[in-house]
């Protein structure tokens, strides 16, 4: 038997260890983000940094880096943002429609060839997306679409189709068939029932599908780096890569981190607001098994 006195000590030791472990994990999680935010407001001579940046003097903080990133770089921030929104926005719209149709067909129909189709999209999606850049390069240059808006929007739209299609399908599976059947009894066509009954019920998963289709192109470098040559088509991802790597050794940490904050902010806010739902959507498949 363990004496009560000893048991209390064990309990205390356990609680202290738990807090220590969690504090270390939190410090690890926050450190880079803290570094990014603090550095973006500091005045740093080019390519020089010391640990002092981590303990900033409030009077020494400045928004000079933001001022440069937003208003003085070339190509202008407005250009980069517009291009990123055009590419990612179009890809999200097309990707969303494709995912909704695919999910609907797979969830609510038992058509001949369904099994084959699922294996087909599974097989095809195993080819790494980054490596499609190589054949794309030859296909799109022979079509004269390198360095054009269309030349990037087309490949971007296909990026998340399989994953999002399956995501939508799983979600639709959880909607009872009775709901669709009731709409059919009321005289709707199947297409009408899809658009007017199922789609509204699927708004959450469709939002997630659109977000996933958006975030890929928004942060894509592999394809844009090869496809875009003119400055006026540059995206935010090319912009931040360029600021980070203009000759190693002359990196300006203030500019890189300010750019990182501005570029991440919309995504971070979206995550924070919809966190519960995004985690649920992405872990559903994992937890369910």
């Amino acid at each position: 038997m363990i004496r009560p006195r000893r048991r209390r000590w064990v309990k205390l030791a356990k609680r202290v260890t738990s807090h220590v472990v969690l504090i270390i994990a939190c410090l690890f999680a926050i450190f880079p983000i803290y570094f990014i935010v603090v550095t973006s407001f500091s005045t740093l001579p080019i390519a020089s940094i010391t640990a002092h940046v981590l303990v900033p003097n409030p009077s020494g903080l400045t928004t000079a880096s933001y001022n440069y990133v937003l208003f003085h770089q070339f190509p202008s921030f407005a250009t980069l943002l517009t291009n990123s929104l055009i590419f990612a926005g179009s890809a999200a719209a097309i990707g969303l429609a494709l995912a909704a149709f695919t999910g609907f067909a797979l969830s609510k129909f038992n058509f001949p060839g369904r099994r084959t189709f699922v294996y087909f999209i599974l097989l095809i999606s195993l080819f790494p997306g980054v490596l499609l850049v190589i054949p794309f390069y030859f296909m799109f240059s022979s079509l004269g679409l390198i360095d054009t808006y269309l030349g990037l929007i087309i490949p971007y739209s296909a990026g998340a189709v399989v994953f999002s299609g399956i995501l939508v399908k799983n979600y639709m599976d959880s909607i009872p068939d009775d709901i669709e059947e009731a709409a059919l009894v009321d005289g709707m066509s199947r297409t009408g029932a899809f658009f007017r009954v199922l789609v509204p019920l699927c708004y959450p998963v469709l939002g997630l599908a659109a977000f996933l289709a958006f975030i890929g192109p928004y942060t894509d470098f592999a394809l844009a780096h090869v496809f875009i040559t003119s400055n006026n088509l540059w995206t935010l991802a090319l912009g931040i890569y360029n600021i980070n790597s203009t000759d190693t050794g002359t990196q300006n940490y203030g500019l890189v981190t300010a750019f990182a904050v501005v570029m991440s902010l919309p995504i971070v806010i979206f995550y924070m607001v919809f966190q519960r739902y995004i985690i649920g959507g992405l872990t559903l498949g994992a937890v369910k098994s």
Binding site: P32, L54, A97, F104, V118, I124, P128, L131, N244, M263
Partner: protein
């Protein structure tokens, strides 16, 4: 829908044909933007595109499997290094993800003060797009001006040339960075699974005198096993082809010591050789990567019910 297996094909077709209309756009997109490019890649890998001297960038020829034969047999070929590195990278990362994820989830699963604060902070890295934080991590690992060395210096440790001095240092930087990117996801998944375990099991066990370690081993672990296998295998497949961490942080260096298939393929085509890219080799590494992933996926399907859910 109801089980229609006993109904005839023509009946099913009459009833289910609209599905094909809904699938037309997706099928067209997948054929043009996936199937065709994959076939094209396989074809390029069977030619001397880029490897047959200067002229081969304009005029290339079918040469059968000789790129593959050279890759498998030539002593100067990086093939076996890439196999080793790719598996080491994916296997090492997944082991760390599972370890950190399970550890933190079990700590967070007890009644502890400040739990929601801890949870929120641990989840933070997940909210940032990986490409952006990876760029910042790249500069954080810098030898002369990286913040990590500066912090080490301030506590009296000498700077480490993380990315260039040795394979061990480069791999450490990669593993730490990738754990930072991924551990929030694994922690959340395991925590969610743990919270679904019925509480009375633990109560019964503790009445029977089971300590917390044997409770973990006999209740928590068996309950988590399907999730661990599923998440671990999917994590392996994903990490095997996770391009940006290696491309941005070490770019395969020093030498070839952290190069994996996907980064090797990309740089054969768009990086290492400047004006004389070796497209056929790039295509070949893509095909080999694809084949390995197919094999691994067959294992996943065989070991888990991943596709059962999709097919039902």
């Amino acid at each position: 829908m109801a089980d229609l297996r006993d109904q005839t094909l023509s009946f099913r077709l009459r009833r289910e044909w609209p599905a094909y209309l809904y699938l037309i756009p997706t099928v067209v997109v997948l054929l043009l933007l996936n199937a065709y490019p994959i076939a094209y890649t396989i074809y390029i890998s069977l030619t001397d595109f880029g490897t047959g001297g200067r002229g081969s960038l304009i005029n290339y020829h079918y040469i059968g499997f000789s790129n593959y034969v050279t890759a498998f047999t030539s002593t100067s070929s990086p093939f076996w290094t890439l196999v080793g590195n790719s598996f080491f990278w994916a296997g090492g990362c997944v082991a760390l993800f599972l370890l950190v994820g399970l550890g933190l989830a079990s700590v967070l699963n007890q009644p502890i003060r400040g739990k929601s604060v801890y949870r929120t902070l641990i989840l933070l890295p997940w909210a940032f797009p990986a490409f952006i934080t990876l760029l910042v991590w790249t500069s954080m690992w810098g030898y002369e001006y990286g913040i990590i060395n500066e912090v080490l210096n301030s506590v009296g440790i000498h700077s480490v040339n993380w990315l260039l001095s040795s394979p061990t240092a480069a791999w450490s930087a990669l593993f730490i960075t990738n754990v930072w990117l991924s551990f929030p996801f694994y922690t959340v998944v395991f925590l969610a699974t743990m919270q679904a375990i019925p509480k009375d099991l633990y109560e019964a066990a503790s009445i029977d005198g089971a300590g917390s370690f044997s409770q973990f081993r006999r209740i928590t672990l068996p309950y988590l096993m399907p999730t661990i296998i599923f998440v671990g295998l999917m994590g392996f497949l994903f990490t095997f082809n996770n391009f940006y961490p290696i491309y941005l942080i070490t770019n395969g260096g020093p030498g070839l010591s952290t190069q994996i298939f996907i980064t090797q393929s990309y740089s054969e085509a768009f990086g290492a050789h400047g004006a004389s890219p070796l497209y056929s080799l790039a295509a070949m590494y893509s095909v080999l990567d694809f084949l390995i992933i197919i094999l691994l996926t067959v294992v996943v399907i065989w070991r888990t019910d991943l596709t059962r859910n999709w097919l039902k």
